[in-house]
Amino acid sequence: MVVSIGFEGSANKLGIGIIRDGIVLANPRRTFITPPGEGFKPVDTANHHQLNIVLLLKEALDEAKIDPQEIDVVCYTKGPGLGSPLVSVAVFARTVSQLWGKPIIGVNHCIGHIEMARLITGAQNPIVLYVSGGNTQIIAYSQKRYRIFGETVDIAVGNCLDRFARLLKLSNHPSPGHNIEQLAKNGKIYVPLPYVVKGMDMSFSGVLTYIEEFATTLQEYTVEDLCFSLQETVFAMLVETTERAMAHCGAQEVLICGGVGCNIRLQEMMSEMCKERGAKVFATDERFCIDNGAMIAHAGAEMFRVGVLTSWEDTFCTQRYRTDEVEVKWRNDI
């Protein structure tokens, strides 16, 4: 019976999760929300995490009804993500790991998303579409690695949506993507936008530049039309590349994870494609799609279970940490 605690703060969400044997006992989160038109900067985000982490940890321990002595392993996000927020959380995790006398494990953020989504949905061996503000990757597991089949060649799809929301001065509460999704529901006209798929990869910076020009002139389109058109275009790109990966691997399952995975329209479009292929779509709700501590606790617990530990000198953080750098020793399937 392993009890693990996970600390996540690679972007503007600070999350602490406690898991016992695959059951989430607590998973509270605080989001650093900036005013409309502004993105979150690393130093301000680091400040936010430092100000909130003590209370958030108390909240997590209370909710889980756990005494720190019952915890077996302390897990934290090693990367990828923003430098100073990552370090703030890592310093705190290192401190409690010493105070409580527990081993510490550095977890890859992307793998946290994948493993949590697998746990919650029960998907066996899916093609994973990992889409967030910071990452856009299509991943398939093979021989102890999460292999990146395709990815964005420039910005993440969530980054494209967030920056578009900034231009429109949409509220960042609860998230810019959420507000684009609501507006898109009332879009009536589809504006043709650059659709950029290059084999297994995608590019989003071009469509962003193009639609930014529309947003300033608007012409005969409403904000709702632009939100609708942007979603239809970028999500179609994601569905196309996911389908290509499924065809390569003969996969019958798609698992969507990451903050953009909350988007119901994306889930709908993916389902339509999968229905045509007789495949299934798996997705989680915003508790687990959006960055959270429990995903770090769970991935860390899997690593702990097979004896993968992090030496003290290796408890540093890194802004670039490829998903396929990690040896997935805890999976036994091929």
Binding site: Q50, V54, L57, G83, T95, L99, L309, W312
Partner: protein, 104 residues
């Protein structure tokens, strides 16, 4: 006019030394271990060296630029404050720092 040649504030290197006493050598060691792992950001000309003397944590900064020195010291102090809050709130009553086999 070449402003930098008139910048009397930038005769390198500039340095700062901090001495932070803790209630015990054990707690100073916790702070030292938490704070010594991260390197300064790549673009910074500042180097930071941490050391322990009984219950005193010493941090010594050297930089080619005064403003970078200020940033490095500020960031360090923010993290130090965070460590001290964690110590205040989460130290078990019977705390003795354990020998961690993975610590060098």
């Amino acid at each position: 006019m070449d402003i930098s040649s008139k910048d009397s504030l930038n005769c390198s290197p500039v340095s700062a030394e901090l001495h932070i006493p803790f209630p015990s050598a054990h707690l100073a060691t916790v702070a030292y271990n938490s704070l010594r792992v991260d390197k300064e950001p790549k673009r910074s000309t500042t180097t930071k060296v941490l050391s322990l003397e009984a219950n005193i944590l010493k941090a010594s900064f050297t930089s080619g630029d005064t403003r970078q020195l200020r940033t490095a010291v500020n960031s360090f102090l923010d993290l130090l404050i965070l460590v001290s809050k964690a110590i205040d709130e989460f130290t078990p009553p019977d705390f003795i720092i354990k020998e961690c086999p993975l610590m060098i």
